[in-house]
């Protein structure tokens, strides 16, 4: 028998929304954002002579519009689920979607890890004259020696290069040439170690929250989810401190050569993903607190956020290993 939720031959109906303006709205937001961002960056680097540029407003407007559209998109999906429109099959589509989205994120980080390993294993030693191209070192960068973390950049050694728009000057101004572990007697003052502990325990706390939800214990769920969000905040706070130290005390910046490039891009994108994951978890917390969403058997919004959180955690483990320790 055909009904609202099943087909004539008794299969569950797959809900296909009749039409939706979400995609077009999200397009407007996304396109305005990137167009605005491109304008802002070009003003910054290539110098817009005119005093008043509207590019910042294009960017801001685009971002705000985009964020609101995304909120309304996820809100729609949540409402549909509560209204019972989602079959088990549709939920499985969301599960697959989230899994492959995380896989794509893994590959994004792979590009930056690949760059780091390539520079450390190949490009750096070659610049310093190792390998078949060794003679070029004497012609191009005489005197440059490679170490990791690098003490200087090739440009610094030879005293400047033509046609370099922005100097990659390697201007570390303190004794600290890297973010690697400091001397043993101050190990406890080494921020990345604390951040590792914090992020690893946040993966555990979010797991406790999940178990609580599975046994229908909402109080415990809210508590441990809240703790997780708190840990995420602490992590971001410590990372901000670390960046401040790097910039203000160590002179380690985005333009201090390849070490600064890989360090800030890897940890920066990770930090951005922590912020995204934290936002996702926070939304789930608010949903649980305000609307009593989620049951022991129906909570994929939360579960997807935990997957994302574990992913962010695993990336950090690799970061800790390859950026800080090794």
């Amino acid at each position: 028998m055909a009904s609202d939720t099943t087909t004539a031959r008794g299969y569950e109906k797959y809900y296909v929304p009749e039409s939706s303006s979400l995609a077009v709205r999200a397009t407007i937001g996304l396109v305005l954002s990137v167009f605005g961002a491109a304008l802002v960056l070009n003003d910054m680097t290539f110098g817009a002579q005119q005093e008043s540029s509207n590019s910042v407003w294009v960017l801001t407007g685009g971002l705000v519009f985009f964020v609101f559209t995304m909120a309304s998109w996820f809100g729609t999906v949540i409402k549909e689920n509560i209204a019972g429109m989602n079959s088990g099959q549709l939920n499985q589509s969301y599960v697959l979607g989230m899994f492959w989205f995380i896989f794509s994120e893994v590959m994004f980080f792979a590009a930056f890890f690949g760059a780091l390993l390539y520079v450390r294993q190949f490009a750096g030693p070659w610049l310093a004259g190792e390998g078949d191209g060794g003679r070029m070192n004497g012609l191009l960068w005489p005197g440059f020696e490679f170490s990791w973390p690098p003490v200087t950049t090739p440009q610094e050694v030879v005293g400047g290069v033509d046609a370099q728009a922005i100097a990659n000057n390697g201007a570390f101004i303190s004794q600290e040439k890297s973010m690697a572990p400091a001397d043993a007697h101050v190990w406890y003052a080494w921020l990345p170690m604390w951040n590792t502990l914090i992020l690893l325990s946040s993966s555990a706390t979010v797991h406790v929250a999940h178990t609580a939800l599975l046994s229908d214990n909402r109080r415990k769920f809210n508590l441990w989810l809240g703790i997780t969000v708190g840990l995420a905040l602490v992590f971001l706070g410590l990372q901000a401190m670390e960046y401040y130290e790097a910039y203000a005390l160590f002179g380690l910046t985005l333009n201090s050569g390849i070490y600064g490039s890989t360090f800030f891009m890897l940890t920066g994108f990770h930090g951005f993903h922590v912020a995204m994951g934290m936002t996702m978890l926070l939304v789930q917390l608010v949903r649980s607190l305000k609307n009593r969403h989620f049951t022991a058997t129906d909570h994929f919004g939360f579960e997807a956020s935990t997957w994302y959180w574990h992913f962010v955690d695993v990336v950090w483990v690799f970061l800790f290993l390859f950026v800080y320790i090794l």
Partner: protein, 526 residues
């Protein structure tokens, strides 16, 4: 409430707000055709300039912008979206699904494409001109020495990546989750298989491309040193990251084409596809190998010999699964009841010319020989044999093959055949001589050339104008079919066609398979 069948909405909102896989497929196909004409127009500008030696029509800088935009638009705007459009139309109908798994995201992956290409094309009118560093945008040409419009180029690439990733996630979720009961993986039509593997490749490598352009963006605007030796980075790093994306990318382009050919050749041979299972495994092997061969694009950058050897042998291995495919297609035709309608002609054209492109690929894979071929017109000839005679021919075949199903009208067969022969001849006049000028040392991407290359270049240009003009005939035929073609109503438009898409009414109704169909076909057939 019960079952209610609804048709499409009226007016522009149908297209803006649609969640229907057929609407979205149609939009992808028309958009990609528009991009095909735009990229083709740029190619005509290039060939007009190269008609004779010496500078004729345009400035060298503008020539560079033309080669760059031609490549970018053809790869990202024409070929890739056209196959995504085909996937949208066909995958749900082939596996017996009511629609794509995530219909709203499907619409979004389409709608961000047009503005991205608008942004890319608008760079032509910006100060300093459009990107002029080739479609491979090697650093430092694309960083230190690029025009300011490069920032817009970078963000356009970001959006294309987002679109591809969402589209691919959708295809993977659809294939894994939406198959009708009984449609096991090894019963899926080969087109679905090739797209499943292609989608996996896209999700794996588009983020890497995003990483590459992000590093460019940071190098340009924030003074990082990823691709600057002065800061301890390496321009060659860019090439490694780019080709880690770029080599799987060429299989992203060609695998769905393989899928199309694997549907059409059996239909017009009136035989099941020979070696279905080996086709699946060959496709998977090609996909796997595509991840470990990228540096064969970079033999001349000064890699260590061990690297050259590894990438050379790994590349040669790809000939094995590709050969399996070619032999399977030929064996499918062997002793079949062949007929030569337009789709079949394009598939046979594909088979012959793609194989030629494969052979020149094998020549290029030999590292020491590549030192001679590298960055010459030999490379240009090679990749146009696989991109145009490979991907574009199979796409054209697909349109002729499925268009009657989609719109319930038959195209004009003699016009179709004329289109094929003009395309086939025009294509070969254009690109066959490029093998010779390439082997003789004519470099690619240069607006002028030595006098000894003049005759072959004039041939190339004449061929290009013929090939370009024949696409207008194609456009006319498609529009004439949709508007006024002879009506067809048989479910199986082609008597030899197999598959679920041929079991629904013709023209295909707006919604198909809201009720999962019974899957009739035995394992091992198409």
């Amino acid at each position: 409430m019960g079952d209610h069948h609804h048709g499409p909405a009226k007016g522009i909102s149908r297209w803006l707000f649609t969640t229907n896989h057929k609407d979205i497929g149609t939009m992808y196909l028309w958009f990609s055709f528009a991009m095909f004409l735009l990229g083709g127009f740029f190619a005509m500008v290039i060939r007009a300039e190269l008609f004779q030696p010496g500078m004729q029509l345009i400035e060298p800088g503008f020539f560079n912008q033309m080669t760059t935009l031609h490549g970018l638009i053809m790869v990202f705007g024409a070929i890739m979206p056209s196959f995504v459009g085909l996937a949208n139309w066909l995958i749900p109908m082939m596996i017996g699904a009511p629609d794509m798994a995530l219909p709203r995201m499907n619409n979004w992956s389409f709608w961000i494409l047009p503005p991205a290409f608008l942004m890319l094309a608008s760079t032509l009118f910006m100060e300093g001109g459009a990107p002029a560093f080739g479609w491979t945008f090697y650093a430092p040409l694309s960083t230190t020495y690029a025009a300011p419009s490069v920032t817009f180029f970078i963000f356009a690439i970001h959006i294309l990546g987002v679109s591809s990733i969402m589209g691919s996630i959708n295809i993977i979720a659809t294939v894994m989750n939406m198959r009708a009961p009984g449609m096991t993986y090894m019963k899926m039509p080969l087109f679905v298989w090739t797209w499943l593997i292609t989608a996996f490749l896209l999700v794996a490598v588009m983020p890497v491309l995003a990483g590459a352009v992000t590093m460019m963006l940071m190098d340009i605007h924030f003074g990082t040193s990823f691709f600057s030796a002065a800061g301890g980075g390496d321009p060659v790093l860019f090439q490694h990251i780019f080709w880690f994306f770029g080599h799987p990318e060429v299989y992203i382009i060609i695998l769905p084409a393989f899928g199309v050919v694997s549907q059409i050749i059996p239909a017009f041979s009136r035989k099941p596809l020979f070696g279905y299972a080996s086709m699946v495994y060959a496709t998977a092997s090609i996909a796997f190998l595509s991840f470990i061969v990228w540096a064969h694009h970079m033999y001349t950058v000064g890699m260590p010999v061990a690297g050259e050897l590894f990438f050379m042998y790994a590349t040669m291995l790809i000939a094995v699964p590709t050969g399996v495919k070619v032999f399977n297609w030929i064996t499918t035709m062997w002793r079949g009841a062949l007929s030569f309608e337009t789709p079949m002609l394009f598939c046979i054209g594909f088979l012959v010319l793609f194989t030629l492109g494969g052979f020149t690929g094998l020549m290029l894979s030999i590292a020491p020989a590549d030192f001679q071929y590298h960055d010459t017109y030999f490379v240009v000839a090679h990749f146009h044999y696989v991109m145009v005679a490979g991907a574009v021919f199979s796409m054209t075949a697909a349109i002729y093959y499925w268009l009657p199903k989609w719109c319930g009208r038959m195209y004009n067969e003699s016009m179709g055949k004329t289109h094929f022969w003009i395309s086939f001849i025009g294509f070969n006049i254009t690109f066959f001589p490029q093998h010779f000028v390439g082997l003789a040392g004519m470099p690619r991407r240069i607006p002028d050339y030595a006098l000894q290359f003049a005759d072959f270049n004039m041939m190339s240009s004449i061929g290009a104008f013929i090939y370009g003009a024949s696409q207008l005939l194609f456009l006319f035929n498609v529009i004439a079919t949709i508007v006024a073609g002879k009506r067809v109503s048989e479910e199986k438009v082609w008597d030899g066609a197999e598959g679920l898409e041929w079991t629904v009414a013709t023209p295909a109704p707006y919604h198909t398979f809201e009720e999962p169909p019974a899957v009739p076909r035995p394992a091992g057939t198409i």
